[in-house]
């Protein structure tokens, strides 16, 4: 495979990159405008889609919400780094993380049918414990903010690498595009645009891969070149893939879904009868996306792409590099960029909606219980502006956002087991929840810094399990889960009226 060279397409100008970002935004905006005029009439429609999301939109929306730019680019990166073992350890836990949510979302919908957010559940579960609720509000907001920042960085990485657009310009355009349509339609906008994005992640990926194989010399040449390199690159049993990133990634993915407001809000927004099968189908049909696009990493191995010379030291750039340098027609390169942009946009709009529901239900309503419907509807959009402004600040100033990432990671991992115990164990106490979460962070984060991510995660999980269990066993109180059914719908206001659609 030494006869192949890499070429640059001169048609891939910065103007074409900006046009691709805006064009996708215009298409999504047209869809959202229709959705807004027909389906979004009040705050409840905006933050929870009036609990009317059906099986199809649920599956299609969830697949795309879970398909981060990382799922598109990292599947190829891990294959490029570890061969098929990397693809295996990246892909299998990813789909499983969505399916693993089923027992939890099923339980929460039966216990608290009129819920909206994780903090709302935690407060109701622990008799209005503001400290427990506050910890989870912080975790939810930080988690959503991180999703916005990571995916907007994904947008700028791809658009700048392929088209040479200034990364800051690419990021700001991406943020503005998503902000505009999210403000119009809330969760309905997120779900319907994500459903469209799911189509963009699948059929175009198949076309791009077949073309990439052609330009790389065909499947025989690719496969034989990788096989000739040895190193078990064509097996799924390399242990270094598991220890290098696989186990830690699996833990992180489970935390992201089970303790992620983006997933709980969909669970509460789905029609009651569709909750379990929607999450199962979404997890199962998410798999083809990394299974297909991960093969770009195998092509990179076959063509001996050099991580330093060609990729600037970042394996995540393998997909964008190959697609833009193999000599593919310009329209296919742009199609690949749209696949990644749609993945970024759908995660960002879902994160915007998550901040909106947490802000409305857990901050505005407790502070102003008598607020009118119109004012609440306006306030529902405020956190989207704020999240976009903070994400823009992070990108424009080039500030190191490691602290935000670590804080978000620590809180989400630390609340995972207390949250699970709160759902299933009647003896779980508010004190155990708060103490378990705080101690897990205080003890686990230094261990993470000293001994690495795997041991840090295990320490956080161990402490966050041991403390609530001990507190619960020492307490004689048993929570009556039936109380949760009496929690009132948080967006119902005195002035709330369901006006007919215009």
């Amino acid at each position: 495979m030494d006869g192949l060279g890499f070429v640059t397409d001169k048609a891939l100008t910065p103007a074409a990159g900006v046009a691709a970002e805006i064009l996708l935004g215009v298409v999504l905006l047209a869809l959202v405008y229709y959705v807004k005029t027909k389906l979004v009439r009040n705050t409840k429609d905006f933050v929870i889609a009036n609990r009317k999301i059906g099986f199809g939109f649920g599956v299609a929306g969830l697949i795309s919400i879970w398909t981060w730019a990382m799922a598109v680019m990292m599947s190829a990166a891990q294959t490029y780094s570890f061969g098929l073992s990397g693809l295996f350890w990246f892909t299998v836990p990813n789909g499983l993380a969505v399916i693993a949510v089923i027992p939890f979302v099923r339980k929460i919908r039966s216990l608290m049918p009129d819920g909206y957010t994780i903090p709302e559940f935690v407060k109701a579960r622990f008799d209005g414990n503001n400290l427990a609720g506050g910890v989870v509000v912080l975790g939810s907001l930080f988690g959503s903010l991180i999703e916005v920042v990571i995916n907007i960085k994904g947008t700028s990485l791809v658009v700048s690498n392929v088209f040479g657009v200034d990364p800051k310009v690419a990021a700001i355009i991406g943020l503005l595009v998503v902000l505009v349509y999210s403000i119009l339609g809330g969760l309905w906008a997120s779900i319907t645009t994500s459903a469209l994005a799911t189509l963009l992640h699948t059929a175009p990926s198949a076309i791009i891969l077949v073309a990439a194989f052609h330009y790389a010399g065909g499947v025989d040449a690719v496969w034989n070149s990788v096989a000739a390199q040895g190193n078990d690159l064509l097996t799924v049993t390399r242990p270094d893939a598991a220890t290098g990133f696989g186990i830690t990634l699996a833990l992180g993915l489970l935390t992201a879904t089970i303790a992620g407001q983006e997933f709980w809000q969909v669970a509460w927004a789905l029609k009651k009868k569709d909750v379990s099968r929607t999450f199962l189908w979404a997890g199962a049909w998410f798999y083809p996306i990394p299974i297909c696009l991960g093969l770009l990493g195998l092509i990179g191995l076959a063509l001996h792409v050099d991580i330093n010379t060609h990729l600037g030291g970042d394996a995540a750039a393998i997909g964008p590099f190959l697609v833009s340098h193999l000599g593919l027609p310009t329209w296919l390169v742009i199609l690949y960029v749209i696949v990644i942009l749609s993945a970024c946009y759908s995660v960002i709009d879902s994160a915007f909606t998550a901040t909106s529901s947490v802000f409305v239900v857990d901050i505005v309503k407790p502070l102003a219980p008598q607020i009118g419907e119109r004012a609440l509807f306006v306030w529902a959009k405020a956190p989207m502006f704020l999240a976009a402004a903070i994400a823009a600040g992070v990108v424009l100033t080039g500030v190191d956002f490691v602290t935000i990432v670590l804080t978000s990671y620590a809180i989400r991992t630390a609340i995972l087991i207390p949250l699970v115990l709160s759902l299933f164990w009647a003896r779980m106490t508010g004190l155990g929840f708060v103490a378990g979460t705080v101690l897990a962070i205080v003890i686990g984060m230094p261990i993470r810094a000293a001994a690495g991510e795997l041991w840090g995660s295990l320490a956080i999980l161990a402490v966050s399990a041991a403390v609530p269990l001990a507190a619960g066993l020492l307490s004689n109180r048993r929570f009556d889960f039936a109380q949760l059914r009496r929690v009132k719908d948080a967006t119902l206001t005195a002035s709330a009226q369901v006006a007919p659609a215009e």
Binding site: L39, F88, L209, V210, V236, K273, Y287, C292
Partner: protein, 102 residues
């Protein structure tokens, strides 16, 4: 073969992708229309009685693992990823269809 269509295999995939996209968009649009028409209707009261989550999870995990492992068996298996990426929107399109039938 026009250079913009790359190769016969790519052309076939483009045609298949286009047909699948039409099928997907048709049912997605119908499901959206249905959501609009039923916006004021109360839910039918059916509970979540789906009982195949555990078996479904095992099947999904095993099938995806086998698909990835099969890449190592022979070059032709590399097309399995392409096939799955084309089947996925058909499966999701089917969920829109089921939503319409409910």
């Amino acid at each position: 073969m026009s250079s913009s269509l790359v190769s016969p295999a790519t052309t076939i995939t483009i045609i298949a992708g286009a047909l699948i996209s039409i099928f997907y968009l048709r049912y997605m649009w119908s499901a959206l229309q249905r959501a609009v028409l039923s916006i004021n209707k109360p839910e039918d009261g059916r509970t979540d009685a789906f009982a195949h989550s555990f078996i479904g999870a095992i099947v999904a995990v095993v099938a995806s693992s086998l698909a990835i492992a099969s890449y190592g068996l022979s070059p032709q298996f590399l097309y399995l990823g392409v096939l799955l990426a084309l089947i996925a929107p058909i499966a999701v399109g089917y969920t829109f269809y089921r939503e319409l039938q409910d």
